[in-house]
């Protein structure tokens, strides 16, 4: 028994190592003195300093963050509406169809989503003159299309776990439907909205394929810059940048986890 336990830990360690050692190496090498990414020559933070002066990279990062935040906000609104329709409105006509359409972006190959959106934007520009050119707007719209699906999944599971009688009790106590939604439903599904937002944010932040299709000149997102510069040869600056992204994402995931953990017992209580 002790033996098999020891083996279990070994496999766990191997699994975790497989997942996280590369990330860890990347972070360690961001503090490397040398210009060569694979040779360690001493500790230094100079690449972080250089990163701060790399306008191209910083602009791309800022654009990506703006796109990610806008995308996440719209995705949460649309995803929540969709989840509400699915959970709260019973078997409306075309429910199955709606469900399929909503889930499609989850399984659709990104190349196809990207290409079809590009064709759509080009056609629309020719027909109605909007969106004019490709850039922030088109990338954001493209990201919203798939982020919404993810948010809907998260919010939907939370909504369907929620005791329906809570809303009925509020209505019974004199609250009109909108009031019920604002003071009972929303606070109770807030953790799901937040994790949905963070999920949409990260999905958008690291999307490369779809962005590449619908981006225009002057609207290069961070993953696009990273990808193209890696092809020229990896600079330790990229390591530094990646470390910062890892840090931000870790903190966000941690915060989301803590929030949902704190909400969980109260949600179960009823």
């Amino acid at each position: 028994m002790n033996r098999s336990r020891w083996k279990l830990y070994l496999f766990l360690a191997l699994g975790l190592a497989f997942l996280y050692v590369p990330v860890l190496l990347l972070v360690i090498y961001s503090f490397n003195e040398s210009r060569l990414v694979t040779v360690w020559s001493g500790f230094s933070t100079k690449w972080y300093g250089e990163l701060l002066h790399n306008r191209q990279l910083l602009d791309a990062a800022w654009l990506s963050v703006r796109i990610a935040a806008t995308n996440a906000t719209f995705a949460v609104i649309l995803g929540t509406l969709a989840a509400n329709a699915l959970v709260r409105h019973g078997n409306f006509r075309g429910r199955t169809g709606f469900q399929l359409l909503l889930a499609a972006p989850l399984v659709m190959p990104e190349v196809i989503t990207g290409l079809s959106l590009l064709l759509l934007f080009v056609t629309m520009e020719q027909l109605v003159g909007w969106p004019a050119g490709r850039g922030f707007t088109t990338i954001t719209i493209a990201h919203i299309t798939f982020s919404t699906a993810f948010v809907a999944v998260v919010v939907r599971s939370r909504l369907s776990q929620m005791d329906r009688s809570l809303e009925e009790a509020a209505m019974d106590l004199g609250a009109r439907p909108l009031r019920v939604y604002m003071s009972i439903t929303l606070p109770l599904i807030a953790p799901a909205l937040l994790s949905g937002w963070l999920l949409a944010f990260t999905l958008s932040l690291d999307d490369l394929v779809i962005s590449s299709f619908v981006a225009g000149p002057g609207s290069t997102t961070l993953p696009m810059v990273v990808y193209s510069s890696v092809r020229m040869g990896v600079s330790p600056q990229i390591n530094a940048l990646a470390s910062i992204v890892v840090l931000i994402v870790s903190v966000a995931v941690l915060v989301a986890g803590l929030l949902s953990m704190r909400q969980q017992p109260t949600a179960k209580a009823n």
Binding site: D163, S165, L166, A169, D172, L188, T266, A269
Partner: protein
């Protein structure tokens, strides 16, 4: 004895001039093709503690939800205090409901939960605080006011839920399985508390329950429901002693049912040839014609040990004790009287169990009086 005037006050349903407080008028509710509630009419009077009793899926909860306004009847009208409320949404009805799960808002404190309904009415802050204090005091939960629902025990949650529903001084309080989520010990004390509370505040209560014992102890009247219909509406005593349907007799407590056919009638006395192979002599409140197939229902505690057994005696039967269920105060004896028939007899355990006269495998003769059961046709 109480005089007639007083009796009418205590039992308004006996008074032909009393106006019902809640009137359910030919109400039907369909979900798709299924009739959850099927053409139900019912009058409930002010100050009653009325119970809808039935097994799950009989439509009792749907009926309650229609009173609350959470479901809309497919047909029929509902009146409360003289006003037609059928088309009034739940949030505008002078009715509050306590949910089976209590449905306390998990993100609000006890105080905020109780205050929620008052806020919706835009009651001034000072008045609101007063009313909340009153309600918390009424249910003796003032010291819990700052707690969240997940920090409360089952019994405390029930009190908070009650306080919240009573806070708006509803005309009618609906309770869906009010004691269902409590454990057995707590449930018994809560039954009495609920009845006392209701008598103190004088609000009309309508509860839904599947627990016949609960309905018997608490209610002024009980409506027994089955398959979306109300079978019988009566006081707990009448429901137990004079059921009108086999289903009602069978649903409430234990009962022995003997099938038979009417042979002779005289006034309210009836002679029945039964499947036991002997004659039964019963009093029949609704005399049936000769030849009618009937069922005689006798409660196990109405049976007695017979000392004058005769092979052809009426209201007598003999068999062998097959099972004994010892419940402490009483024991239920299952006596095999024929290969396909068991008769249940309850005897009070006057003596300690070890000294009891009846034991397994023993032959026993039983009898009952003509007034101790009812004659049913359906």
């Amino acid at each position: 004895m109480t005089n007639p005037a007083e009796r009418r006050k205590l039992e308004p349903w006996q008074d032909p001039k009393a106006a019902p407080y809640v009137r359910i008028d030919h109400v039907t509710k369909k979900f798709g093709d299924v009739y959850a509630v099927d053409d139900v009419s019912l009058d409930i009077f002010q100050g009653e503690f009325f119970s809808l009793l039935g097994s799950s899926g009989c439509g009792k909860s749907t009926l309650l939800r229609m009173l609350a306004g959470l479901e809309r009847p497919s047909a029929g009208r509902i009146y409360i205090d003289g006003a037609d409320v059928t088309d009034i949404p739940a949030y505008s009805r002078p009715v509050n409901m306590m949910f089976q799960s209590y449905a306390l808002f998990p993100h609000m404190t006890v105080e905020q939960n109780v205050e929620f309904g008052l806020k919706q009415d835009r009651m001034p802050r000072k008045e609101r605080a007063e009313r909340v204090g009153e309600m918390l005091a009424l249910l003796q939960i003032s010291e819990l006011r700052r707690r969240k629902p997940d920090q409360l025990s089952g019994g405390q949650r029930q009190r908070v839920a009650l306080a919240r529903t009573l806070a708006k001084h509803p005309k009618l309080l609906l309770l869906d399985e009010p004691l269902g989520a409590l454990d057995k010990r707590l449930r018994e004390s809560a039954q009495f508390e609920l009845v006392n509370l209701q008598e103190r505040i004088g609000i009309t209560f309508v509860t839904v329950t599947h627990d016949q014992e609960e309905a018997m102890t608490m209610s002024t009247r009980i409506a027994v429901m089955n398959a979306g219909q109300i079978l019988q509406v009566d006081t707990p005593t009448a429901i137990y002693e004079y059921p009108e349907y086999r289903f009602v007799a069978d649903f409430i407590g234990l009962v022995n049912l003997f099938d038979g056919r009417v042979m002779e009638t005289q006034d309210d006395q009836v002679l029945i040839e039964s499947s036991l192979g002997r004659r039964l002599h019963m009093r029949d409140l609704h005399p049936h014609a000769i030849g009618t197939p009937v069922t005689v229902a006798i409660r196990p505690e109405k049976l007695q040990i017979c000392s004058t057994y005769q092979e052809n005696g009426t209201n007598q039967v003999k068999g062998v004790v097959e099972d004994i269920a010892y419940l402490g105060d009483v024991s239920i004896y299952r006596v095999r009287v024929s290969p396909e028939m068991l008769v249940e007899m309850t005897l009070t355990n006057v003596h300690p169990r070890t000294e009891q006269a009846l034991t397994w495998g023993q032959e026993v003769a039983m009898e009952w009086s003509p007034t101790s059961g009812v004659v049913l046709t359906e």
